[in-house]
């Protein structure tokens, strides 16, 4: 069974009913667009999660009149804890500035006196500190002399984390669904092609063609369809991204603090290769199920 014969037969089959293949590729492009869009969303969600996950933090509000030496000592102790990534000392003036930045309103609050903002230690935690451990640290810190209050932002982070988790979860479900869909479409297309050329297949078999000879062109067709559709849909996504990214990307960046990015070329290549593999696989499954003479 030589490849050149198989290729030329695949080419002939393709030309014979190119509309079938065109429609199949179109369906696959839709499926891959879903997959691509999902990957895109997941990639950006991951970036958000990473960024926001990194900024998991505690604020340690200090009692008025705490001495500079006490603060330094406290900072040193905190920095030696394994869960702590960084500690920043915020003077009342700095706190006021940051507060005004965050409220983003040029309101009368600008006239608040600096003294109403307490000095604080902003503690960035390492990623993945377990809940119980965090609570313990907070309890311990609360008992320190210069500490007036510990702010852990936990309510907010729990909300955010659950939303991200749900998004990532539904994204991977969707990705799996799309993969199944691709295999199903290819399988169906090949099934159609088999039904369409059942007379040819019968003649081939009756003339002494081996199973490999009969199957090879279908597998080649499936692989080509899968990879062409994947490639095409990535290009479409890129175009759509280029068109939309300006406006949406800005809004996205200002809302999340993370700039929108397309997934990496490696992932794109993986999608194309995966598309070809899924095509060949769908083809083989279909042949196994529907091709018997």
């Amino acid at each position: 069974m030589d490849l050149s014969t198989a290729l030329s037969r695949a080419r002939r089959n393709f030309l014979d009913d190119w509309t079938l293949h065109a429609v199949a590729i179109a369906s696959l492009v839709v499926a891959f667009l879903c997959l691509g869009a999902t990957l895109f969303a997941v990639a950006n969600l991951n970036r958000i999660a990473e960024k926001w996950g990194n900024t998991q933090q505690l604020s340690l509000y200090l009692k008025d009149g705490t001495e500079k030496a006490d603060v330094s000592q406290l900072q040193f102790v905190l920095e030696s804890l394994p869960e702590v990534a960084a500690v920043e000392y915020l003077t009342p003036a700095a706190a006021q500035k940051k507060f005004l930045e965050q409220t983003d309103a040029e309101s009368d609050l600008a006239s608040l006196p600096t003294e109403v903002f307490p000095a604080s230690l902003e503690i960035k935690l390492t990623q993945g500190v377990p809940e119980g451990r965090l609570q313990k640290i907070i309890d311990r810190l609360q008992q320190l002399a210069p500490v007036q209050e510990v702010e852990s932002y936990r309510g907010w982070f729990e909300h955010l984390a659950s939303l991200l988790q749900a998004s990532r979860w539904s994204a991977s479900v969707l990705a799996a669904l799309v993969a199944i869909c691709v295999i199903a479409v290819i399988e169906n297309t090949v099934r159609m092609a088999i039904a369409h050329r059942s007379d040819e297949i019968e003649v081939l078999k009756l003339c002494g063609a081996t199973d490999g000879f009969v199957r090879m062109p279908f597998v080649i067709e499936g692989a080509i369809q899968g990879s062409v559709a994947a490639l095409f849909s990535i290009l479409l996504l890129l175009v759509a991204y280029a068109i939309v990214s300006g406006q949406v990307g800005y809004t996205f960046a200002t809302l999340t603090g993370v700039s929108l990015t397309f997934f990496s070329p490696q992932i794109g290549l993986a999608v194309v290769i995966g598309g070809g593999a899924a095509g060949a696989l769908g083809s083989l499954l279909s042949l196994r199920r529907y091709l018997s003479v």
Partner: protein
């Protein structure tokens, strides 16, 4: 019968032009043995009524055998058992000494490569050209394109369709399609040619031409099994005759002329 015997002897010197035949049957001592043996073959399509009953048939290498019988007798079934479209329900069929029924699925193609089959319903791909329909049999054997072209042209020429390779097979007349099917069967120069009603759509003149073609191929050493209803062909060529009647296979070489004459007179009345 005499003629058939003679050609058996003559077949010793054949096959030197076909690399395929040489490749598939390198053992030259084999041709002394029968090419096809059927032993107590039964085939049931319905539970109680066998289509073929206790068929015993031995066909020697280089023979020419007519198979006849009424519609639905089992002629096509007999041939289909040989090329493993169906399998026997009991008994065995030996082709070149090997039991056809016990071939694994993956070795069936290699059985079929030794056979040339003309199907009763042609099995021509109507959206292919005439050339492609014939060439497919050679493509399967991975024969080089150049060789395919010349051999297909030769085969089409032999069935009277020279120069019509580019025509759409679906547009051909019934008889022309049948001749394409014949060309496809003979182009591989098979060891055994199974012809199922190969002249059903041909006029008497062409039928005789095709019969003559088969006899030529037979002269060159190919074994031919020729299923037909056409009594004028049976009369025209004095070969071994096998009749299928009520599932039984009866050798009819002795009473052939008398029987054919009887049918002929019945038809003419």
């Amino acid at each position: 019968m005499t003629l058939a015997r003679e050609s058996t002897t003559r077949s010793v010197g054949r096959g030197s032009t076909s690399f395929f035949r040489q490749r598939e049957r390198p053992d030259s001592s084999k041709h002394a043995k029968p090419i096809l043996v059927m032993e107590e073959v039964y085939k049931y399509f319905r539970r109680d009524v066998p289509t073929l009953k206790n068929v015993n048939l031995k066909i020697n290498r280089g023979e020419f055998v007519f198979v006849t019988g009424p519609s639905g007798a089992g002629k096509s079934t007999l041939l289909q058992l040989i090329y493993r479209k169906h399998t026997v329900d009991s008994g065995r069929i030996l082709f070149s000494g090997r039991d056809v029924a016990r071939l694994t699925k993956s070795s069936i193609p290699f059985l079929r490569r030794n056979l040339g089959v003309i199907f009763q319903d042609f099995k021509i791909i109507s959206h292919w050209s005439t050339f492609e329909n014939v060439a497919v049999a050679l493509e399967i054997l991975s024969i080089p394109k150049r060789l395919i072209r010349s051999r297909v042209a030769e085969a089409l020429d032999r069935v009277g369709l020279a120069g019509r390779g580019n025509e759409h097979a679906g547009d051909l007349s019934g008889g022309e399609q049948q001749r394409v099917a014949i060309a496809r069967a003979i182009v591989t120069e098979p060891a055994l040619l199974l012809a199922d009603e190969p002249t059903g759509n041909l006029d008497p003149g062409l039928s005789i031409d095709i019969l003559t073609l088969f006899e030529e191929i037979h002269e060159a050493g190919t074994t031919v099994i020729f299923a037909t209803h056409d009594h004028s062909l049976l009369q025209a060529a004095p070969h071994r005759l096998v009749m299928i009647d009520d599932g039984h296979v009866i050798e009819a070489s002795q009473g052939l002329r008398a029987w054919a004459a009887r049918t002929q007179s019945m038809v003419a009345s």
